[in-house]
Structures are given as C-alpha cells and as structure tokens.
C-alpha cells in the first residue's frame, strides 16, 4: 500500500512537471524561450496538405510550417511574406511580377527560389492534386520563373484582388524536395515541409499534432517555444476544462456563456479576436411559397422587427458586433452603410402597408455550426412573432444535412428564410459579394437568397477588374448600399473569435479571419 501511495505521488509530481510548461530561460533581452506550448483546437484537420485546405483552423496549423508569397498582418492588410515586396502589375491587369526573398531555405535545407514558388502554384492548379482547391486562383494562366528571384504570373482575365487571394493557405509554397519523402507524393502531402517557424514532428490522428521550432527560421521574429502541440479537443466545454486544469496553454472558441468567468480568472487571459464572419437570416427573394418575401419593403420590415443589439448582448454574450453593412469591417471595400434600428411598430406598419400582416414563413437553422446558432434563430423567430409574423420552425439539423437543404436551386428551396454564416477566405469585398451575385445561385455557388440586382452585378463585375484601388472601394461601397436597401438578408452581426490563454504565455495573437496565431508566442 505504501508503495502504491508513493507511486501515485510520483505520478502526480510528473504530471505537475508536465503541466508546468515553458518555464522559460530568460535571455538578456527579448522574449523568453524554451518549453512546450499546448494549444487546443476543436477540429481534427482532415489534411495538412496546403492545396486542400478548407477550414481556417486547419489552415493555421499548416501556416505555422509552410508560408505563402503574401500574408496578412494582424489588422488584415496584405503584406509580403516570401515575396520581398508588393508585385508590379501590367497596365492591362493581366501580368503580375513578384519579387522574391533571397537567402531563405526550407526547413529540409532546400533553397527557396522562383522555381520552388512556381512548383507550389502549379501544384495547386494541377487537377491531379488530391482535393486541390484553387478556387479563385484558377484565374492563373501561367506561372514563370523569370530568374531565381522573380516570379511572373499571367492571369486569364483581370482580377483585382489577386494579391489578397495569394494570402490563402492553399497558395503556400512547399519544399519541392519534400514531395517524394515521408510518405508524400506530388499528388498528396501528409507531412508539409515549408519555410515556416515550426517543423512537423509527429501526428496521432484525432489526438494531436506536434511541431518543433525551426532553429534556422529566416524571419526577424523567431519561434520561442521549442515545441508546440496542437491538441484536438472537439467539445467546447472539454477545451475549457483542459485550460482550467492546466492541460492546455491556449484554447480557441470556449463556450461563449463561460467567457465572463474565464475573463475574471486571473490565471487566464481572453482575447476577443476579430473575425470576418457575418451571420444573417437569408431570405428567399424569389420565394413562390411566400411571395410576399419578394417585396423589398417586406424584407426591410423584417430587418426593423429584429432587435439585433439584444441578440448580440444576450444570446451571443457580447461576442459580436451588429452589422452596419452587408460585410464585416475587416474587409477591403467595407464602408458603413446604415442600420435598421429596432422598431417593431414601424415594422408592423410596413408589413400592413405591404399586405403582409400575419404572413407565415418557414425558418431553418443549423445546430452546432456557429456559436449559439439555433438559439439565435429562435430569438429571431420570437421577434418576428412579436410583429405578427407566423414562423414555422426554426427547423434544424446537423451541418451537412442542413447544407444539403439550403444549397439548392430556387425551385427546390426548402425554407423561406434560413440562418447562415459567411466568412471570406481572404479579406476582400469580392468574397462577400459571392453572396449577392446571380451567377452564384446554386448549383454554381452558395447565393441562397437568389438575389439579383443588375446595378449590384454591374458594380461588382467592374470592381473585380478595377486596377484603381480607390475606385474599387467606391464601387463596393455603392453596391453595399444597394444590397442594404434591397435587404435580401435580415442583417444580424459579425461574430468575434475568442481565444483563451494562460497568463504564463505572452504574444498570442490572431488574424481577422478566425486564425489564431501562436507562431511567435513565448513564455511570459
């Protein structure tokens, strides 16, 4: 018995030692370093192949190891990463000449140069690459290595947000030599090798991904933790439990309702990072089941009927900002276009004038896709009920089923209105306007309001090819105003992306597109 007790104490001691990560060796100046940083995320990355990335959480893990020609800064502005400066663009907007950094090496020792950059982009465009997702980058016609430090990219048609689109993880540059080792093939990469501050160590599917610091990292900022372990903890309360018990140093997306108590815990810090995700009730603007929704004044009335500020305060626990434009503030092309202040009596009057008093609508919402999703949908239903609208639902299901229900052409629409979030892959208004372009109506895209306004379409088409950035901005601003007045959505809010980290850690950051940033975190 005594032996057992002793063993138990030894194990406890070992655990305490394991929990006391990152004791840190202070240097004369600059950040402390050493130890292990444990970060808990909610999803198990399907693949670490940059070309096949679809979620920001998995992308961020890849970003720690593999870098792109351009990146975002913490404010969301585009900055050179492996490029040495912004590119020069030909006057027809078709040719981009990108100067590259010199003296940079991949973590396997292969030098980074124009040939490697070309191979990276070509691989993304190659249909043989497993699950490759070039998306808008399929606008690229040819990629040429002009010389060792210059890359020339020719586009099929002018595409103004091209540099912003290069900030996506799928445009990351892998070491060409790594494509045939460690189980990698040119078609499918399991162990990504890049120029990033961390290097892949091991992975246990469903449990964790471990990375070690790249000692020869080229950047001015250096990785400070020797090891970073990304733990897969799918359940929100379990992630919270993990950081409270000392089993993790950083967690993303804790349960929103617990943020006040997490904020008041002196051993923890809460970062409410910006996100580019807007949440809205999308209205079927060509609805034949409830034709009243085809009238803009009815849709405007629904906007007046819903108290968004109260939803943000009480359902989202303050972790969101009420929308004042059909996109988040973090996008290039954003301008504030107005508000639909909560005014139920005005809503009632407008509905009555339009002959829509007491109309019936069917509402859909996913469960578990966005923070508080079904609860927000229920709150909206209750506000609509207060102005005399009969709401059937919210009918709800898991995400893939729900997506199957809403991603349908107008003739098969299952709901009159449905709850959906939209988060641009790069921070440009063109990505948000994918939601207001008739050429993106399913099955061609996910424009599920089926909204079409020629004025908006013209402005968006012009802006996509506009070289003058100020003009582009103005065009998006004008288009936003039109969308706001046509009200294809009940505009709700722009959510934030909460990150909780231990007070023993410093320099935890985030990008405004729901990516956490622990690359240069260090012991406090």
């Amino acid at each position: 018995m005594a032996i057992r007790k002793f063993a138990f104490l030894v194990v406890l001691g070992l655990m305490a030692a394991a929990c006391g990560n990152g004791s840190g060796n202070p240097t004369s100046s600059g950040p402390k370093h050493g130890g292990t940083l444990t970060v808990a995320i909610g999803i198990d990355p399907d693949t670490l192949d940059p070309a096949a990335q679809t979620t920001t959480t998995a992308s961020q893990v890849v970003d720690m190891m593999v870098e792109r020609l351009y990146t975002l800064d913490s404010n969301g502005a585009t900055q050179p990463q492996l490029a040495s400066a912004m590119p020069t663009t030909s006057s027809d907007g078709l040719t981009y000449t990108i100067p590259l950094r010199t003296g940079v090496k991949f973590s396997d020792g292969t030098p980074f140069n124009a040939a490697a950059a070309k191979a990276g982009l070509d691989r993304l465009l190659n249909p043989a690459t497993f699950k490759t997702q070039p998306g808008v980058l399929s606008v690229i016609d040819t990629v040429t290595a002009t010389d060792d430090k210059t890359l020339t990219v020719k586009l099929k048609s002018p595409f103004a947000p091209f540099v912003a689109a290069l900030t996506q993880t799928n445009a990351a540059i892998l070491s060409p030599a790594s494509l045939t080792v460690n189980g990698n093939t040119p078609a499918q990469v399991k162990v990504p090798v890049g120029t990033g501050p961390y290097v892949m160590k091991d992975r246990v599917n469903g449990d964790h991904i471990a990375m070690t610091a790249n000692k020869d990292y080229w950047g001015s900022q250096k990785p400070n933790y020797d090891t970073q372990v990304i733990k897969i903890v799918p359940d929100d309360p379990s992630r919270e439990a993990l950081i409270r018990s000392g089993g993790a140093d950083v967690i993303v997306s804790p349960p929103l309702s617990d943020l006040p108590s997490l904020s008041s815990d002196s051993s923890l810090k809460v970062l409410k990072a910006k996100s580019d995700r807007t949440l809205q009730i999308i209205i079927n603007t060509v609805d034949t089941n409830q034709p009243l929704l085809q009238k803009p004044e009815v849709r405007q009335a629904l906007n007046y009927a819903v108290n968004k500020d109260e939803i943000v305060k009480n359902v989202m626990f303050g972790n969101a900002t009420t929308l004042d434009a059909p996109m988040s503030k973090t996008l290039f092309g954003y301008c504030s276009v107005g508000t639909y202040a909560f005014d139920p009596s005005k809503a009632k009057q407008m509905l009555q004038a339009a002959g829509a008093s007491g109309m019936t609508v069917k509402l859909g919402s996913p469960t578990g896709r966005y923070p508080q999703d079904i609860k927000v949908a229920q709150a909206v239903a209750s506000y609509l009920h207060d102005v005399g609208v009969t709401v059937q639902g919210p009918e709800t299901s898991d995400w893939p089923t729900y997506l199957g229900h809403v991603n349908v052409p107008p003739a098969q629409a299952a709901f009159d209105m449905h709850f959906l979030g939209w988060a641009p892959a790069y921070l440009d208004a063109s990505q948000q306007f994918e939601q207001f372009r008739p050429d993106r109506i399913p099955p061609k895209g996910l424009e599920t309001s089926y909204y079409a306004n020629p004025t908006v379409t013209d402005l968006v088409t012009k802006a996509a090819a506009e070289v003058d950035q100020q003009k582009r901005k103005d065009e998006y601003c004008q288009a936003s105003k039109q969308v706001w007045n046509d009200a294809p959505w009940i505009f709700l809010y722009n959510q934030s992306f909460p990150i909780v980290y231990s007070a023993k850690v410093t320099s935890v950051g985030a990008f405004p597109n729901e990516k956490f940033d622990t690359r240069f975190a260090s012991p406090a």
Partner: protein, 306 residues
Amino acid sequence: MLTYVARRVLVSIPTVFGVATVIFLMVRLLPGDPARVIAGVLATPEDVDRIRHQFGLDQPLYVQYVTYLFHLLTGDLGTSTRTGQPVTQEIVSRLPYTMELAVVSTVIAVVVGVTAGVIAATRRGSALDLAISALAVFGLSMPVYWLGLMLIILLAIDIHAFPAAGAQNPLGFVLPSITLALFSLALVARQSRSAMLEVLNQDFVRTARAKGAPLRTVLVKHALRNALLPVVTVIGLQFGALIGGAVLTETVFSWPGVGRLLVDSIFSRDYPVVQGVVLMLAVAFILVNLLVDLLYAYVDPRIRYS
C-alpha cells in the same frame, strides 16, 4: 467444437454482406453532398466537381456498389475522402485506443458489478442492498456526457489528479474508462443480483449449506457459477456496444478512438470510412457473440457444441 465454429463463421458471411449493402445505401440516403461538404462553402463549382470526380462519386450508383464489393472481397475498404488515407489504416490507428477503453471499463464493470450484485443478493432487503440498487439506477440513468464533465470538474480541475483530455498522458484512460464503465457496471450488478437471487433459492444451495460447506464456498463455487450464464450474456453484449458506443465518452475526453472517427466521418460524409467502421463493428459483434456462446460451454458443462 471446431466444426461448430466453422459453421458459425460461414453462417455469418451473409450477415456481413447484408450489413455491407445496407450501410452502402444508408450513407448515400443521408442528405448532403459529400463533395460540397468536403470542399467547403466557399468552393467554386469547378472545385466541387473535381473533388466529386476524384472520389468517384460522379459514377452511377451501381458502378460504385460493384467497385465497393469487389474491393471488399480483396480486403480493401477504400480511401477516406476526408483524409486521403486508406480506410483500413484509419481504423487500425484508432482501434487500440477504443479497445483500451472497452477492455478496462469491461474489467471494472465485471469485477465491481458482479461483486456488488452478489453482495446485494446475499443481503437482500438490507440497507446495503437498497444502496446498491439505488446506485445501479443512478448508473443506468446518468447521461455519459454529464457524468464525464462532472468527473473532469472534480478530478481534473479541482484536484488535478487526472488529465482532463487526451490519450498521450499515461493516466488519460482513467476518467473515460470510469465514465464508460458505469452504465455496464450498473447493468451487470442488476443482472448478477437477480440471477443470484434465483439460484440462492434453489435446493442444491440449501443442500450445500446443510452439508456444512462454508458460506464463501457455497456462494462462489455453487451459486455464482450457476448464476453466471445470464451475466456472461450481458457482458458480451455490453462489450460489443462499448466498441462502438464510446462516441460520447470519446468526444468529452478527446479520446482518439473509433467512435470519434465514426462521428467525424459522418459529419464530413466520408462514405468509405463510415462503411468501414460499421462493417468492423458488425464483425466485432458477430465475433463477440460467438465467443459468448463458446463461453457458455465452459461456464455450464451441460452445454455442448458438436
């Protein structure tokens, strides 16, 4: 005996084939386009089409079915559409974690459950019996999800005795095993109690006592041995359920087992992995049932398979 085993294995082949067919159709009946789910909401139509083609989901259903069966015959479960890894490798990498929980919690359930059941039966009507019965009802009715979180709060957050999540810590298995064991434990305890009560009332027990055999011997060698048959059945069924039923426990404790693989695969409409895991579970159930039947002969020598 061997003939019996061979016959049972042969008989189960149509069952496996039936499961393979039903699950093939069922995953395809689920709403939601796998190519769109995997490509994400921002994907262009070209991206979605390319992915659909890479998975062979653009082929007619019968072609997919024939290809699937043909591969199955050669032992190939296909390639995960979520991760691009062979399904067999996906399952094999997760199975040890699930087996660890299933075995440990079964051991806990059997040892504690049978002991509690026997004690309750021999002290029928006592306060102890009542307490055990009450605890068994608690165990049967507590949601795994709630129980898991309570254990985490008490034993991981408040007193730091065990890790809250993950399989890398050597003590990581303790909390999920206890959580998982409780339901089976309660079931085994109740089953043992009622089986023991039935046996204890029989003549041979009275005879044994009358001969002057010590109480312990009578309980363990005479009564328990005879009460084991229904208990073994329950344990077998529970073990089968544990292999597949650990979904919630694995989620709460971030345990990288087969249950979570199945859930992740269903939510990403990863047809090959869902098919593979369900087939594996079917085979596991068949094997466990066979084992239980063989155990009967050992527990009760009157039963013979020839």
